[in-house]
């Protein structure tokens, strides 16, 4: 079955059209260069084209269990019944819907990636993050418990997938079609299978059995490409698993999903919007800037009086966010994925009485004049909040990655013109002689090398200084935090019996580390922009000199520095977050009263250090490495066409397409 699409004029992402238009204009200009003229600027133009064509902003949906995340994602995508919504909260699959309006040369397809051996081993042998934490805390008995549970899990998987299921690990299953059943086989965990399913066949050949959730245990990501979708530009909607799992495996998966994401939609349920139970969720998004977050309060269809309740819910959410270090000023939208789905599927007539009543109340309050003459379907769609959510997403895509791509491409385009003119000028017969031109060129090459190494070392020094400042700040933050926590512990021990469990919220530590990281990012961006501007100026001067004609100044514009990744590591659980039984048992371990402070000091330091270290390695270090190369790469790109041997040859007509990743034979 092909997923049914019903998107008669209901597109959530119409607001992306202006961005797409601007990109299209750039594409046209680039294609012109690519086709028409100079063999010199062709390759660079093609690279820029490729950048635009590959541009696919990613929107990640995270949320409470039962917040109706998947229903919402389906409706937003315009495929009301694509992803299974009655999914067992135990699945750990990140599902990416790649939407594109394009149909020519593209087909619907999907790919399901399983955990690798290493990931699986890490999970089973060490118990994932929880094992790590327990290990750091020296809680051997805890590890034992985790192991037992993991053994059970492994047994279950074996029953499902056969004895040799481990052979599947690391594989990717690809299909050149998409169907609901296919998706369910990988991302939905149905009831337990009968053992005989797997008794007689190799696990890799049991596909004809076609069971729901057959591979769900070991599936890590699902990538579904849908062509002909109702989107102005390619867009990826990412549905993430819930986050409160025992082994904190899914948390890691969700964090990794957030790392590459451009906009994060936090889906909450109106019935229980952001209680203290959801601190994990607040924690998870606390590393992302408020500008990158939209909060969608779903299921207002279940409220009896949404008009009265919504303001309170809003205040409640803002309060919780402020109190627990979440993003302040994040936009909050109210709506119902269920209404959106019924609008998309054209089944709003079948809404229950209660839901219809709520819808009417909500509509009376919010209906604008413009909608007065709209069709019922359009009204339901508007009231569902899906269009507002789509608009908020589009706004963020436009202001963030969209703007960056535009700015970068525009600068590159101007530079392409400038360098193209230099090439033309050098080739013009007015030049004295080829020899002097060549001489100038070799002189030029060595100048460029000088500029490159200067910019590179200058930036490296700036970045090292910024990274050093981060280290110092992080170190001092960890110290201050541990001091505070121990002071709190001492007060607790004075006032209470040791039977009374002490907890200390590490949210402050996260806020401090986030601040330190943001300061680093600001300094690194400043330095990179400044060095890029230096590089652009120096190259301009060099090119002007090469042309040797004062009347033709050459101006190279700097490109904007790439944005820094969010420090998603901050969202990871550390021991202090575990306020449940695990922490309780750790606290109640028998020890002398004096030993509490010593033992907890060790634990606190280890946990805080681990967090700081992760950010240092994965964010600060990685970003530095990425930025360091930028001035040199930028300079290379500008002057490449001057040194390109192909400038002498005829242009090649057929440009080889970039190989697409498809190493594994597809299935049917």
């Amino acid at each position: 079955m092909t997923p049914s699409i019903n998107n008669t004029a209901l597109s959530a992402f119409g607001a992306l059209a202006p961005l797409q238009e601007e990109l299209t204009q750039l594409v046209e200009k680039l294609e012109e260069i690519d086709k028409a003229q100079s063999r010199a600027s062709g390759p660079k133009a093609r690279d820029l084209l490729e950048n635009i064509r590959e541009f696919e902003p990613t929107v990640t949906f995270i949320g409470q269990v039962k917040a109706g995340k998947t229903t919402l994602v389906n409706a937003m995508a315009g495929y009301p019944d694509l992803l299974p919504t009655e999914i067992n909260p135990w699945t750990s699959v990140v599902t990416s819907l790649h939407l594109t309006a394009q149909t020519a040369g593209k087909t619907d397809e999907c790919a399901f990636r399983f955990f690798t051996n290493e990931e699986w081993e890490n999970l089973l042998r060490y118990g994932g993050r929880l094992g790590e934490i327990a290990d750091r805390a020296g809680a051997a008995s805890e590890i034992e418990k985790v192991r037992q549970q993991l053994d059970e899990l492994r047994e279950k998987s074996r029953r499902r997938l056969g004895k040799r299921f481990e052979l599947l690990l690391g594989q990717t299953h690809r299909y050149e079609h998409v169907s609901r059943e296919l998706v369910r086989r990988y991302v939905c965990l149905g009831d337990d299978f009968q053992p005989e399913d797997n008794l007689f066949s190799e696990v890799t050949e049991t596909l004809q059995n076609d069971h729901e959730g057959q591979f769900a245990d070991i599936t890590k990501t699902a990538d579904i490409t849908l062509t002909g979708a109702s989107v102005p530009m390619p867009l990826c909607l990412q549905d993430t698993p819930g986050i409160n799992d025992t082994f904190l495996v899914r948390e890691q998966i969700t964090l990794n999903g957030l790392r590459g994401s451009h906009v994060c939609v936090v889906v909450l349920s109106a019935q229980q919007a952001l209680s203290t139970v959801d601190l994990g969720l607040v924690r998870l998004v606390s590393s992302i800037r408020a500008r990158g977050i939209v909060i969608f309060v779903n299921r207002i269809d279940e409220l009896s009086d949404p008009v009265a309740e919504v303001p309170n819910i809003r205040t409640g959410i803002q309060d919780t966010l402020a109190r627990f270090g979440g993003p302040k000023d994040a936009e909050i939208i109210f709506g119902s994925g269920f209404w959106a789905q019924s609008a998309v599927a054209d089944t709003y007539d079948a809404l229950s009485d209660a839901s219809t009543e709520t819808l009417l109340r909500w509509t009376r309050e919010n209906l604008e004049e413009a909608l007065a003459s709209a069709s019922p379907q359009e009204v339901v769609w508007q009231m569902s909040g899906a269009p507002a959510l789509g608009e908020a997403i589009a706004e963020r895509v436009q202001a963030g990655p969209g703007n960056h791509l535009l700015q970068r491409t525009r600068a590159a385009l101007t530079n392409l013109h400038a360098t193209g003119q230099v090439v033309e000028n050098l080739q013009s017969p007015r030049r004295d002689s080829l020899r002097s031109a060549n001489l100038a060129k070799s002189e030029f090459a060595s100048q460029i090398e000088d500029i490159k190494s200067q910019c590179k070392s200058a930036l490296a020094a700036d970045l090292a200084a910024a990274a050093h400042s981060f280290d110092q700040r992080a170190e001092s933050a960890v110290e201050t935090f541990v001091e505070r926590a121990l002071a709190d512990l001492a007060t607790h021990l004075q006032q209470h019996d040791t039977q009374e469990v002490w907890t200390y919220d590490p949210v402050g530590l996260r806020v401090l580390l986030r601040g330190a990281y943001q300061a680093f990012v600001a300094a690194a961006t400043r330095a990179t922009d400044a060095r890029l501007a230096d590089a652009a100026n120096a190259v301009s001067a060099c090119l002007s000199e090469l042309v040797g004609d004062n009347t033709i100044p050459v101006t190279i514009r700097p490109e904007p520095a790439p944005p820094a990744p969010a420090a998603v590591e901050l969202g990871g659980v550390i021991a202090l977050d575990l306020k449940g039984s695990w922490w309780r048992r750790f606290w109640l371990k028998k020890r002398a009263k004096d030993a509490y402070v010593a033992e907890f000091k060790k634990l606190l330091l280890q946990e805080a250090d681990a967090l700081a270290h992760q950010i240092k390695e994965n964010c600060v270090g990685a970003h530095c490495t990425r930025l360091e190369r930028i001035p040199a790469d930028f300079i290379d790109q500008q002057v490449a066409i001057l040194f390109d041997d192909r400038t002498a040859e005829a242009p090649t007509k057929d440009v080889p397409q970039r190989p697409r990743r498809r190493p594994i034979p597809t299935r049917n």
Binding site: S469, S476, T480, R484, D505, V511, L512, G515
Partner: protein, 391 residues
């Protein structure tokens, strides 16, 4: 004591010092300079390529139609005076005048400069200069250079913040860029170059070119200009107070503090003075925050959490500001570390959220203020820029 009373008192003191024999000739000159500055109104420069908008902004700020709607583009100044008056400098060098604000026909004589007098200026404590120029890097730059040594507050009128404007602006004197308002005549959604916002203290969108909006936004612009003027005047007063503190032992304690202006204007290229300017900014910031929050602490609200939140916000803003002042870490590493420590501790105290923590936060903030003040006052040239040069 309100600022105006303090101002006249400070002026008096400056006059008496200028006449005494206790200070050097050079210091006397400096004293006279400070006196003049303090007495003279703030000069607002209206710049940028958008002629129509510049004229509209001037009218709005003055709160009356000084310039006729369909007048020609013209450079002009508006000074304080008892009654409306306009003098026109014509192209042939001759002068024409009327005892009113200019009319379109009066302006259409082909003049290149108009001097207008308005009673409104005294009320606003400021004077204006509007510079007409074509939208080219050279002309814009020339206008900025001229303005750079004269104006105290820049208002830049633009439609799309073109490349030429960017180039001219980024090359202009730091003094101009320090206090600047950007007025954009287009829709916020259509405006591309968002990075420009960080360059200006205030940015105002005023609708697309053909549907000029008036109403609350207009008032907003005026309010914001008034705030910047008040700040500039406060800083003048401050540098006067600091001068007095050095030369007149009887000067009252600092009522307002730190100024970056003297250092930034006169010796922007000397690294230490640049650092000192940054320290001045930091001190000013910490002082204002401390004053506000400590006064709240004197009569604390029931909800400790809200107050702790305020402390955290203030300290975060301070840490952010510190991030944009790179010299401080180099010149005053101790202070730098202490600001960050105080910030960290405040954040943690906020999340602990206990009633008694507000006191601790208050202590931290006042310690920080005192330390910044000590560092600032220890600078060789605070209050008098000769200090640094002579030593």
């Amino acid at each position: 004591m309100d600022l105006e009373a303090q101002r006249s008192k400070t002026l008096e003191r400056l006059s008496s010092i200028a006449q005494s024999d206790r200070i050097s000739e050079k210091a006397k000159q400096r004293c006279a300079g400070i006196h003049d500055r303090l007495e003279s109104p703030v000069l607002v420069g209206i710049l940028g390529p958008d002629t129509q908008e510049k004229q509209a902004v001037l009218n709005e700020l003055l709160g009356l139609t000084v310039l006729p709607r369909d007048g020609p583009p013209i450079s002009l100044e508006v000074q304080a005076g008892d009654a409306p008056y306009t003098m026109l400098k014509l192209a042939d060098g001759s002068v024409d005048e009327i005892q009113s604000y200019p009319t379109a026909t009066f302006l259409a004589q082909g003049a290149d400069f108009a001097a207008i007098t308005s009673p409104r200026c005294a009320e606003l404590h400021c004077e204006f200069v509007l510079i007409e120029c074509a939208d080219s890097v050279d002309e814009l730059r020339e206008a900025l250079e001229w303005a750079g040594t004269r104006i105290d507050l820049a208002i830049w009128c633009t439609q799309n913040w073109a490349e030429s404007e960017r180039t001219a602006w980024t090359n202009s004197a730091e003094r101009v860029r320090d206090h600047a308002i950007l007025v954009i005549r287009s829709d916020a959604s259509e405006f591309q170059d968002q990075s420009v916002f960080s360059e200006f203290a205030v940015t105002a969108f005023r609708g697309p070119a053909d549907t000029q909006t008036v109403g609350h936004e207009e008032k907003g612009l005026e309010t914001q200009m008034r705030a910047l003027i008040a700040e500039a005047r406060e800083q003048d007063l401050l540098s006067a107070e600091l001068f007095l503190r050095r030369y007149d032992k009887l000067a009252p304690d600092l009522a307002i503090d730190a100024s970056t202006r003297p250092a930034a204007v006169e010796t922007a290229d000397q690294p230490y003075e640049k650092a000192q300017g940054e320290l001045g900014k930091l001190f000013q910031h910490v002082r204002v925050k401390a004053e506000k929050l400590l006064s709240i602490c004197a009569d604390p609200p029931e909800d400790a959490r809200a107050l702790l939140e305020e402390f955290e916000t203030a300290m975060s803003a301070t840490a952010d500001l510190l991030g944009s002042l790179p010299s401080i870490e180099k010149e005053w590493p101790h202070l730098h570390a202490n600001v960050l420590d105080a910030h960290d501790l405040t954040v943690l105290l906020k999340f602990e959220g206990r009633q008694e923590h507000t006191l601790q936060c208050a202590r931290l903030l006042s310690q920080l203020r005192d330390e910044t003040e000590r560092a600032y006052l220890a600078c060789p040239s605070v209050g008098t820029s000769e200090g640094a040069r002579i030593q």
